[in-house]
Symmetry: D2
Subunit: 347 residues, 4 copies
């Protein structure tokens, strides 16, 4: 990154829901960014984004990465493309913000970590946007201030209103729970050591063997505990929350922020219907922080490749547990020197 530049020229790969949203944010909500390229196998879809937000259109993400005018890359294409595209960014030494999961397997993510270690510097940030959500940040700040003592127990809940048929129990872990795994690691600041996953099918339309509600109990290297509810067919709305119990108190995300309405013998507030609405601010703040960091010459400003890799290792253990029906040990997670700044990397 040229530290003297006033703007960062960004290319976005993938222009579906997430990529479209990131493009819009880069274009109209993030000063300091300039959207200069978009790529999508569906070139027409990419074209529609480019029309509104600007930028050259590519069909192949690799071409976008190699475009000299592209200084930094956002990856929001399908999961299996993440690792190869991130590796291409590393080969071109371009900072990259990759949507979660970092790769479609822990092994593939490990390769990225090793590539960065080979390079000797970190260029990869992973899109765990909750770390930028004001509600989650407020919880983190209370923990940092020591208000409730050291954290001893983590409770996460993560509910989608509904999900498209065709998903599998493993998909729930890799695509939904992975956020909560990162959340747990971020708040507890220890690695997860053991997981025990139980599930239940509440939505027959998914097929009776798909666990759309999963309950995970975990412990960490320092003996802390945690529980995660992932509920992809809550039936009522989209909600993500966390409560952290500390040695002398607890802290929890604030209550819903909608207007308080009294009507028909009830007092109520609206609940969002999906993550784009719920995490709108988080996505903008995440992008702004990444761009601001780049302008200051920092190659990343949040969760790094190690966080992407570690969360996938834990996800693998979760999948093993849901298959075996038994608690599962997580493979030992020992970060290379490059990542030895603890789990917490939003600095």
């Amino acid at each position: 990154m040229r530290g003297d530049s006033e703007h960062v020229s960004v290319g976005v790969i993938g222009t579906g829901g997430m990529g479209g949203m990131h493009s819009e944010n880069l274009h109209s909500r993030v000063p300091g960014a300039r959207l200069v390229a978009v790529a999508d196998v569906d070139a027409e879809r990419a074209g529609r984004i480019a029309e509104r937000c600007g930028g050259t259109v590519y069909e192949d993400g690799v071409d976008l990465i190699r475009d000299d005018s592209v200084e930094a890359v956002v990856i929001a294409s399908p999961d299996p493309t993440h690792a190869p595209l991130v590796l291409e960014c590393l080969r071109n030494e371009k900072p990259v913000l990759c949507e979660k999961p970092l790769a479609d397997s822990a092994e593939a993510a490990r390769e990225i970590v090793e590539a960065e270690v080979g390079l000797g510097r970190k260029l990869v940030q992973v899109g765990f946007m909750r770390r930028y959500d004001p509600q989650h940040v407020a919880v983190k700040e209370v923990l940092r201030a020591g208000t409730i003592g050291a954290p001893v127990l983590f409770k996460g809940w993560h509910r989608n209103a509904d999900i498209h048929p065709g998903i599998t129990s493993e998909w729930v872990v890799i695509n939904a729970t992975i956020h909560d795994i990162d959340s747990a690691r971020w708040f507890i600041e220890e690695e997860i050591e053991e997981v025990y996953v139980r599930g239940i099918n509440t939505a027959p339309k998914l097929g009776g063997d798909v666990w759309d509600l999963q309950l995970i109990q975990f412990s960490t290297t320092g003996g802390r505990l945690g529980t995660i509810e992932t509920n992809v067919v809550s039936g009522y709305g989209y909600e993500v929350g966390v409560e952290v119990i500390g040695e002398r108190g607890t802290v929890q995300v604030p209550p819903p922020s909608g207007a308080v309405v009294r009507r028909d013998f009830a007092i109520s507030q609206r609940i969002e219907d999906g993550w784009l609405a719920r995490f709108h601010t988080a996505y903008v703040v995440e992008m702004q922080a990444w761009i601001d960091g780049l302008l200051r010459g920092e190659t990343l400003s949040g969760p790094d490749a190690w966080d992407g890799y570690a969360s996938l290792v834990v996800a693998d253990a979760c999948i093993a547990s849901l298959r075996s029906g038994a608690p599962q040990r997580v493979s030992r997670l020992e970060p290379p020197e490059l990542y030895r700044r603890g789990v917490e990397v939003t600095r």
Copy 2:
């Protein structure tokens, strides 16, 4: 009252909604009480209560008061009967708990005050049950503890879901707002000195000239301020609340206490539909405190005749203001020696 007795023998005059409820409470929720007589001009209705809760049936409240087996009297008959029945209790030197308003005019209430002063002791308690509501008591306790400094501003709101046609703007003051007037006097511990009442008709079915929503601004002898919303056709439910602003903070009744339900993209709690549901506990605690006091030899344990009188004097000023459309001075309220223990009488 015979201080050595294990039970107080109580007679209830009026067996409509309120009298029926008080009879039930005396019969089955208030240890130390024995319902020994009920009176109603509708003797059949009284008979039904007596069947379930016990007691001799009278058609005339005066006969009930004179019954030697009746040690204490509850009055829940229509408003115009309150004052004559209370005076009869005083003539018989029997403690009486009279529903609000104490009389149908301030003059009639004044007569009661004078009768008590003549007797030299207080036998009359007025049914301002909010002083026994756990939510209101919690607010009072914070004020007593000095947590927010001296009170400087009172805010009351009082909403009925709906009201029967046929009421008048004056009726709203005498029957609804009178509770809030007592509330203000109890929390601020000063007399109300000036009131300014504005109103609006929101429910055409009441007739366009009936102010079903009234907003009162008032000041007190010590220069404190207040505002009261009385809304007899809120359309959504029954709610009563108070916030008191002090010199260095505020205190407010707690949020609704119903179960928190998430469904259909909303988080909600139920709101009660009427005062019997909302103040169920308050009515029981009020009766229990009165009975417990009687058993200890105290003739009353809550708001007294002076409170009943003062609230009517303020209500009169409110009615004058709503008629004149101008702020109205309240007649000077100077309690006789007998009542000189400040406004706050729940001791």
Copy 3:
């Protein structure tokens, strides 16, 4: 019970914190009850209660049970005495309300179940008072109404401000978690089939091997899931809560009910310091319901011996899990015909 009687004559065994509270409630808050006897190995302590609330004083609970004037018995003596005293009540065919746990082992509780089956009728109620707590009842009512569909996931939390040194990890299960086990069975209306308990020591003063915070993950016979947090040294106050996730929504106990105070750049509400304050109302309602039932000729009105036994069987599995460090199957729970009315017995 003589159905025609106006009062039930009750004897209370054990006059410590719980027994004293029950005696007070019987004496002054529960119409229909008459406290006629109290027993305690510390006769002096029993005497002090008797002085205030009435009743003959016994040193031996067995003598109290055999006293002909005692119609019904409350047991609040130390845990190991529960089973023998309950069995004595059964031998004398007297209804008994026994504090939890019903016995100090599942085997001893099983003996009680068998004695009742032998008798052919149920005389034993267990003191799971949460079933009478207005907050818990509100949650139950929402479930009953079908508002959120069938329950699929139970979340319970149970926090004490602090605990006396000398306790063990097993004590936490038997004395604290047992409430949550009953709660889970009551809300889910299925038996618990598997438990996995993890723990952590957060309070060094208890000795490093005592798990003062325990996290339990469980599944039920119908495949529902649950998690329970028992935290006996929360450090901040006493709180008990439950959230039930259903097929199309969730329901949760209401927020704290204290006055809302704004001061010093914070908005706050008080949290209770212990169960006597938090469950004051529940204890009164529990006793009133038991007495009212007895007056109507019903020998119990809440959780029965089977509930007492089943909760101990689950507690045993929890202890086995915390010792083995592995998920533990719960012994099969098949209620005898006498108890075949489902888990929910508050009828």
Copy 4:
């Protein structure tokens, strides 16, 4: 404004707390804006802002307005300078966003309205930023949706933690209450017709004759009612809120959005200490909306000169009322054709 431009070149007059904040927002939070000039009588202070955010430095705001490179102007200098500077903008036909109050008297504001009418188009927006606060917008949306029927009663509260000595009762109206006046007009969508202001001195340090707490009762041209609490020495924090009562329900700003902390026998959330923290988002959104509008060729996107004038006319009536101690009629407010789109102008 050149509709084809990618950026708006903005000059900011006044670089104190508000002007500095607006400069920062224009520089680093509002894409589409370019800060090209800053002016302040304290040129050194202006220089410090220019160093960080860019722009030519002027000592005289008039010079900044006349600078050809300045396309749009933000005025955040002292109140008495507002009107002359706004008029200069109109003479130069440049869009201007002027901090409230629009002028230091209703007469001066009237001159601006007349100048715009002369020009035949609206160039002036007034900085009533609450109209962009997500909490207030949420309330407005509920009203727009008709969820609670037509508004009948407005309740506003506005509390500062503390205020500098030297203020007057009139200052409180013109500088604090004016926000609430605009809020009431925006929510009720009617003009205020009568006001009655009472006040109290709660902070002796201000001098006993300064009313630091003012309570206003008002009615509108359509007979709606309202009450406003302005409390400039609340002692506990900064809070602004509104509740609107409609024909069949109510709507209220959401509860505080800070993390929920349990500690020391209390559950609590932080309250902000001032408006910059509380309305941080509102100020950014306000600026973004103004800039986005300018880029689209709209000369304003929010409250206009008429709103600025009308709020001052109501403020004058409030001051007259606090001086006379009587309800005060507001001068008739009949907007010229140019402003005839109702009170609500965030379009």
